[in-house]
Every structure is written in structure tokens, then in C-alpha cells.
Amino acid sequence: MRLLAENLSAHRGEDLIFSNISFELKEGQALILTGRNGSGKSTLLRVMAGLLRPASGTISFWYDAARKAHNLGEVAHYLGHRNAMKTELTVRENLAFWKDFLRDAAGGTGYSVVDAARAVELEQVLHLPFGYLSAGQQRRMSFAKLLVGYRPVWIVDEPTAALDVSAEALLARLMREHQVRGGVILAATHQPLELLDVKRLEMKGFEFAAGDED
């Protein structure tokens, strides 16, 4: 398993957010993005997930030497600032929907809904509408979404925002378990996340306009 990003750069409107970012990740590795607000961490993650088109550069993902994924988004989970859960539906309905919709990528199987909820230690609230949960519980439940459908790559943007210390440790543990199973993690975070085999990338950001680049 190999994830390769070469010479990525991205614009937002007219502004160049970042340029010439390259990195390589292998099985079980994690990339932690740091940097101040507005330095382009979220933008890079969205580019990696295929939600934004990079201005230049390529992203490629190989299952093994022979097999290459069409694009990274298909083999990745993306957990952005928003939880991607419907407040009107119960937690169980939400998770069951994503399990059914996401399916499993090649190379693994997802948890059952109950197991995923148990993994984030919230199986008691499965019957409640998602909107009834507190912000921290909602975040944990949206993390359970990463467990129900298997994806080798997790792209997580500030996963531990709005969480207390114990919940933070819980999510860090789940991410480490994912790494142990051979998964790759890309995370943007302010908090020190204890992951295994970490590569760090500090995003500097650009102060000047896009025109200066050429």
C-alpha cells in the first residue's frame, strides 16, 4: 500500500493556498498536518479526498505493486468539520445508512453498526435521534461512521475538536488500531495526537497573491 502526493498546489479563488507539497505514505503510516489557522490544512485534506481539484500535482494510491486506485477518494474516509449525519434520523439509522451506502473497499470489512457504536463507547444512544446528542457525542458518532465501512485511508480534519480528554484518547486509540491493521491516516490537528509512525508536515501558508507565483 502506497500513497504518493507530488507537487500539489491549490488555489482558493485567486489566492494560492499552498504549493509544491509532496509526501509519501506507506502501510500503517500517518501524516499529521500542523500549522496556524488559514495555512491550508483543510484545503490540502479536501484536495486529497478529491473534493477540490488541485491547481497542479498528482495524487496516486496503490493497493500493491500491481493495483492502483482510480482516485484516492474512493478508498478514503473523509471526516470534515461537519458530521455528515442527519439530525432527524436516529443514530442507528444514520450508521446503517452509511454502512449500506459506503460498502467496504477492497482489503477489509467494516464493523457492524452496534460494534462501531460500542467502539466509540456510545452504544446506549443508538436509539436516539442524532440531533439529541451533545456536540462531543455527535463527533464521536461521526467517527463511528469511519468504522462501519472499511477504507484503507482515513482523512480526518480536526477529529478531536469539541472533545474532552478521554474521548480524545479514545479516538486516538481507534486511529492507532486502524494503523495496526495497515491503514493510512492523514490528519490535521492542533492537539497532539498520539499516532504510530508519524510523519509531520507543517503548513506555512502563503501571504502573497497567486499572481506572484509564476
Binding site: 463507547e121 446506549q124 436509539h127
Partner: protein, 58 residues
């Protein structure tokens, strides 16, 4: 007598709507009762669960 169709239809429709409202009210009440029972069951589990979660965290 030729109007029998209209009479029976209107009684039929009335019966249908009335029964629908009654059924909806009763079923709604039953669903609420079930949810309350569910919550009660969850409550019992809530009381018994602390040792389990503690065990997990340790």
C-alpha cells in the same frame, strides 16, 4: 333510490376518514407507549452499565 350510490359513498368516506383518524390516534399512542417502555429498558441498562464502561476504560 337512485341516489343510493352517493349516500353509501359519503357514509363510506366518512367511516374511512373517521377510522383513519381513530387508528392514527391509537397507533400513535401505542408507539409512544412502546418508546416509553424502550426508554425504561434503556434506563435499567443505564443504571447497570457504569461498571462495564469502567472496566472498558481501565
Amino acid at each position: 333510490m337512485s341516489h343510493a350510490f352517493y349516500i353509501y359513498t359519503s357514509y363510506g368516506v366518512t367511516a374511512l376518514i373517521t377510522l383513519a383518524v381513530i387508528a392514527w390516534t391509537l397507533l400513535d399512542g401505542r408507539a409512544r407507549r412502546r418508546e416509553m417502555a424502550e426508554l425504561e429498558a434503556a434506563g435499567i441498562r443505564r443504571r447497570s452499565s457504569p461498571p462495564v464502561t469502567e472496566g472498558k476504560q481501565a
